[in-house]
Amino acid sequence: MTARTATTLGALELPNPVMTASGCGGSGRELAPFFDLSRLGAFVTTSVMPQPRAGRPTPRVAESPSGLLTAMGLPGPGIESFLEADLPWLIEQDVRIIVSIAGNSVEEYADLARRLRGVSGIAAIEVNVACPNVEDRGRMFGRHPGAAGAVVRAVRGQARPGVPVFVKLAPDVTDIVTIALACVDAGAEGLTLINTMEGMAIDASTLRPALTGVSGGLSGPAIRPVAVRCVYQVHAALPSTPIIGAGGVATGLDALEFVLAGASAVAVGTAMFHDPSAAPRILRELEEALAARRIGRLADAVGLAHKPAGYVPPQVRPEPPAPEQAQAGEVKERL
């Protein structure tokens, strides 16, 4: 990749802005047959919890127009097994690793951050605050500025200094900017916007909710406009806070839309279920889209949509035509 797509998230430098979204890349091994993981800007892990967790019973997924409803119940092997089996493999792949953590209490989050403190090879921590707080009648941390802030403060206090802490926020709150402010006040270096939003489907043949979890998280292109709105609003309020945009990124132009709204990187989630090689394709398309707009550095495009009409970003001369791309119909074994 050229310097055009290099990006920074605060102090964290990435060769490109395309990441996997938490919970959508498995342990990483499953994606390896389809592309070289080191070509990702970063690999975001499935949320790690203190204990192994089976999650919810099936059916866990329902298809909705341009989206998926999922109620997984945060399945995972637990931090012990993650540190023993999954993380060393990821480190071998020479990919920047962002570890997503989730807990049921502030203490559990702090404990996870403490466990990760002694581990090298972690580029950043992403805090998944879409978890029920068992100490507060199961209310979700991410829906309350105070609870979200308490989690971030605990994690920031325990995490290794120099490892940035990102917080992933869900959009279905009264005011996402208030929660974003609370997280940044509590010490978060950056934000991931957005997590899934709650939805529900009912199976017309069984006459019952389609998911065992009754309601589930809606993801995919269906929520992209919501995600772009959240990134735009939060970037307007906190222009110096780096944002990882997520929510229905399926093409390079989708990624560009997030960048223009204020994201310095994008995470690809549901698109990977549909197209395992989506991430490298989106990166290639994003680079072409930047070149076509004569934008020489991704950073020049971050938040561009906030500028007044008529503002012209720094431009570069058009490049000579790129070498031929792979023909359609060819085996995309290793992109």
Partner: protein, 295 residues
Amino acid sequence: MSDTPVQTSATVLTVRQVQDYHALTLVAPAVAERFRPGQFVALAVGGEHTGRLLRRCFGVYEVKSDYGGTVELVFADTEPGTAWLAGRRSRDQLDLVGPLGRPFRLPRDPVSCLLVGGGPGGASLFALADTLLRRGCQVHFVLGGTSGRQVFGSRIAQRIGDSFTVATEDGSMGEAGTVREVMPRVIQETGADVVYGCGPTALLRTVTQVAGDFGLPSQVSVEEFLQQTGACGIGVCMTCMLPIHGEDGVTRMVRACADGPVLRGDRVRWGDLGTIPFDALGAPHVLNLSERAPR
């Protein structure tokens, strides 16, 4: 590595109606050359700008070397995605990922094998039968269904099998009855050493039980469960989980796609499908002992 899956744009060769099902033949040399019986493929549906994001997973009926390598699938159109596939024409392009999952394990010696199938999923048994026959095994078929139209592959089974039994509930083809009723007799008559099953989940449970009654090992493909619950086919989405109890006695939730679709029948907790058994690793504990009210 030849056993890694590939993502490829496959060309439709033919789409045919076969009884109640559709048979789709795709030109996909890279998938055909890597395929081993029991593995499946995952197809994107709805075309390039589709709003249907789930991949549809299908077992493979047959691979052939024509046109560089073809893959044939058999499926029922039960929902809009499969109906779209059934409406494809020759020369259409489909995004195909495969071959995926673990294949049937094959016996080392030329033993007598019983292959039990039902519905469109039973189609996967024919690729297996081919391989078994080439290794000198005896292949006996038992096919079941509610009516004759739902029994796929009876003619081929008759042609290639050493024996062949059909049981339909309405008696419209073969014997009137269920697989459970005919299987014990067939096992005794054929002296089967190993049982393979593919088809509806209820059938697989029966296959496992009857095989167990005779002390025979069973391998079953949970393809239908995967079709109903899976989303990606490659093992990242974690939606096709089912409870398996391991050698160590611990029940774990495993993925039907990446850890299956072929599983040892006796390892699957058939009665607990669609649940998280309370004793599974990582199962939620609703009540801790200390929380229980004293009585």
